[in-house]
């Protein structure tokens, strides 16, 4: 496994060891033994060989059950198979394609342009492997018209007579004049950016393929074919889905959990949390359900509506699907409506069943925590119910809900996960959250150094420069910087700066400079940029720094600096 750009720190490794221990304890004490699956596997293998002409690989019990619940996914697969056929035709026309090598691996124009891409004569399963993982991307959602990829091995095929521009890394770009194929390989992960328009990207490898499209970072694992087509922009863009619908569903799951919905083999059993002889633990987004809980059922209509909510969760994973196709547009719309309906149901329930409000609140915290309220677009043509949801959940919690949140946080109800406290504090300026964080800082009640630093930074940004807060920040930034990850490090450093400890920023800048150099060498640009953005925007440093840099290099020249040069100038300025 190739290591990710960020390395796991010792804390994470130790936590992982505890997870491993947990698994082992379940096996030894809980009697959850490793099964003997030899017979199953051999039977399936024999079955597959006997059905060599079958067009679909056999699926597991779990997958079969899942597919049965997802007829729309079959439509998608059918559509992708058709598109994959078109790609196959493109590949078969390879003799007229003049591949251009841009990496160390030579390309033989007489051979299949991709050794892993099967020809139609090859084993059907192998061909399906590609077809099943083909995605059509419509990056034209307005502001951006490119999609970028990072993967171990990429092919770009231009099957049009027109020119297509392809950027490799951040600085070089190549233009494919008419039909052609490019292969990007190498020990470093090639980074590719393609201007949209009838371009096919073939990506292979066991590592995750990341692509960036219309502001959203998406990841796919394994081999995949991506087709970039300039079709009519879809009015509900992927960002909207990724940043609003998806968290809404996550929130719905959490809320459903808070209501102790127990789903087992398609049977929905509903129980009200906190009922007499039932026991349910609902803790934010990690709500646990005790299936032994018993409670009176709610009325039938409400159960049906909750059933609809569960259907939302059974929708295909749209995040990775073709959001531009008519089929998926319908599916997306359905998802949208159902999510809105599910939220509305849950909100209604708070009025119909006041006894559940405490649990609704916990569900809301989970939802808030997941979403962080950033993705909702004010300009979108939202329906009334979506508006309702957005106003209540994302933007303007009612005073009653906020009051509960405030009290809940103040009383320590969110101590389990600092993210909840931080988010509540940062987003809603919740005094209860701030008060609780102060208490935890003073009583040394936060174990994780990163969470501790973030909580102290939050207080620091609120103007709290008390000895306890300063001690935590200085310990993290100055005494033991390795205990913090990069994000927490820069946040804590910036908080020190805001609290008047300007000398600390020199050290922050020095360490950041080293890290940026390191990232630069590895071409991991986005993360460094994120960190600098964090300092620029989130912590409002531009008022202090950017004009100085501009004045030094001249406004016109500043505009001409590339991003790295701006980062350099920024860090130089901080180092002074």
């Amino acid at each position: 496994m190739k290591h990710p750009e960020e390395r796991p720190d010792e804390t994470l490794l130790q936590e992982m060891k505890l997870v491993l221990l947990d698994t082992a304890l379940e096996e030894i004490l809980g009697g959850v033994k490793a099964p003997d699956l030899t017979g199953h596997i051999l039977r399936r293998l024999n079955g597959a060989e006997e059905q060599a002409s079958a067009s679909r690989p056999r699926v597991s019990r779990g997958a079969a059950k899942e597919n049965a619940l997802k007829p729309a996914l079959l439509i998608l697969i059918a559509a992708t198979v058709l598109i994959a056929g078109a790609v196959g035709i493109v590949l078969l026309r390879k003799s007229s394609v003049a591949p251009r090598e841009i990496a160390e691996t030579p390309v033989d124009s007489e051979s299949n342009p991709h050794p892993e891409i099967p020809s139609p004569e090859q084993e059907p399963d192998e061909a399906l492997r590609w077809r099943d993982s083909m995605f059509v991307i419509n990056p034209d959602t307005g502001a951006e018209s490119t999609a970028s990829f990072a993967a171990a091995d990429l092919w770009v095929v231009n099957d049009t007579p027109e020119s297509r521009s392809v950027s490799v890394g951040k600085r070089s770009s190549l233009t494919m004049h008419g039909p052609g194929a490019l292969r990007l390989t190498g020990s470093t992960r090639p980074r590719l950016e393609v201007a949209y328009g009838n371009v096919t990207v073939l990506a292979s490898g066991q590592d995750a393929i990341q692509y960036h499209c219309a502001g959203a970072d998406i990841q796919h694992t394994g081999d995949a074919v991506f087709r970039l087509e300039p079709t009519t922009p879809f009015e509900g863009d992927p960002v909207m889905f990724k940043e609003w619908i998806r968290p809404a569903l996550t929130g719905a799951v959490a809320m459903a959990s808070a209501f102790a919905l127990h789903v087992d083999s398609g049977v929905v059993a509903m129980r009200i949390a906190g009922a007499e002889d039932g026991q349910v633990v609902a803790e934010g987004d990690s709500a646990e359900i005790d299936p032994r809980a018993t409670a009176p059922a709610l009325d039938g209509e409400l159960v049906n509506r909750i059933g609809a909510l569960l259907n939302v969760m059974n929708l295909p994973n749209l995040e990775y699907a073709d959001l531009g196709s008519p089929e998926m547009k319908d599916e997306y719309q359905l998802c949208y409506e159902r999510a809105g309906e599910a939220m509305k149901t849950l909100i209604d329930m708070t009025f119909e069943h006041p006894e559940t409000r405490g649990f609704i609140d916990q569900g809301l915290f989970a939802l808030w925590t997941e979403d962080r309220g950033k993705g909702f677009s004010e300009n979108s043509s939202v329906s009334e119910q979506q508006n309702l949801v957005s106003q209540i959940l994302f933007r303007k919690p009612s005073p009653e809900v906020m009051e509960k949140a405030d009290r809940f946080a103040r009383d320590g109800g969110l101590d389990k996960d600092m993210r909840d406290l931080l988010w509540l504090g940062e987003t809603h300026d919740c005094e209860g959250a701030a008060s609780r964080m102060k208490f935890l800082i003073e009583s040394d009640g936060i174990d994780d150094p990163n969470e501790r630093a973030l909580a102290a930074a939050f207080l620091g940004f609120r103007g709290d420069s008390s000895p306890a807060v300063m001690r935590v920040l200085e310990a993290g930034v100055l005494s033991d910087p390795k205990s913090l990850n990069e994000t927490c490090f820069i946040t804590a450093g910036a908080a020190l700066y805001r609290c008047g400890q300007t000398s600390a920023m020199a050290q922050v800048a020095t360490i950041l400079r080293e890290k940026c150099e390191q990232w630069k060498n590895e071409d991991v640009f986005d993360y460094a940029q994120y960190l600098v953005s964090c300092a620029y925007y989130y912590h409002q440093l531009p008022a202090d720094v950017t004009p100085t840099i501009r004045a030094k290099v001249g406004a016109t020249e500043y505009q001409q600096l590339d991003d790295w040069q701006k980062i350099d100038a920024f860090l130089m300025e901080l180092s002074r």
Binding site: L13, M16, A24, L29, T38, L42, Q210, E319
Partner: protein, 176 residues
């Protein structure tokens, strides 16, 4: 199993028998429930049959199977946040390689059994009530005459002790 040459069904059966437990354990470690782990073990071996591992030594085969299993797991559970998840998976892989790669976790389980014996009565009881009896924290707290938070702390400390004890045990065994 020292080496693997997946050329015939009988070879393949040997491969399955040798690696399935470790693979299942690995998937459980990554977060699969029992049923998903079973499904993915099957899928992994079927994929390995279609495309056998290039490296034939035990470590190479094990790593190859884990890679397939991990990718299948990620495919089966797409949707989580990507960078933190990748980091967690990388950490998981590192921990697995350190603790359980050689034998699919068999030695690790032996070490855990030995360490459990050395544990004091109270933490041992708490672990049994949680993992064996599957009781909720509040009930365990009642039985141990502790607060729920106290039980959490006790469990956390017990697990940390076990983790350290296992590590020492494995290291000592490695040296021997």
């Amino acid at each position: 199993m020292k080496a693997s040459t997946v050329t015939t069904p009988s070879d393949f059966e040997l491969l399955v028998r040798a690696y399935q437990s470790g693979l299942w354990r690995y998937l459980r470690f990554l977060g699969c429930d029992e049923s998903l782990a079973e499904d993915l073990v099957q899928e992994t071996f079927l994929a390995a049959y279609r495309k056998p591992p290039a490296k034939r030594d035990a470590a190479g085969v094990s790593a190859y199977l884990r890679t397939i299993a991990r990718n299948k797991y990620m495919n089966a559970t797409r949707g989580a946040k990507t960078s933190s998840r990748q980091l967690a998976l990388y950490a998981a892989e590192q921990v697995w390689a350190d603790c359980a790669e050689e034998d699919g976790g068999a030695r690790y389980l032996d070490a855990l059994r030995a360490c459990l014996k050395r544990l004091n009565e109270k933490p041992k009881l708490a672990l049994n009530l949680l993992y064996k009896e599957r009781l909720p924290l509040e009930t365990i707290a009642g039985q141990l005459n502790l607060s729920a938070q106290g039980v959490k702390t006790l469990l956390r400390r017990s697990k940390e002790m076990l983790r350290d004890c296992i590590e020492r045990g494995l290291e000592a065994e490695g040296r021997a």
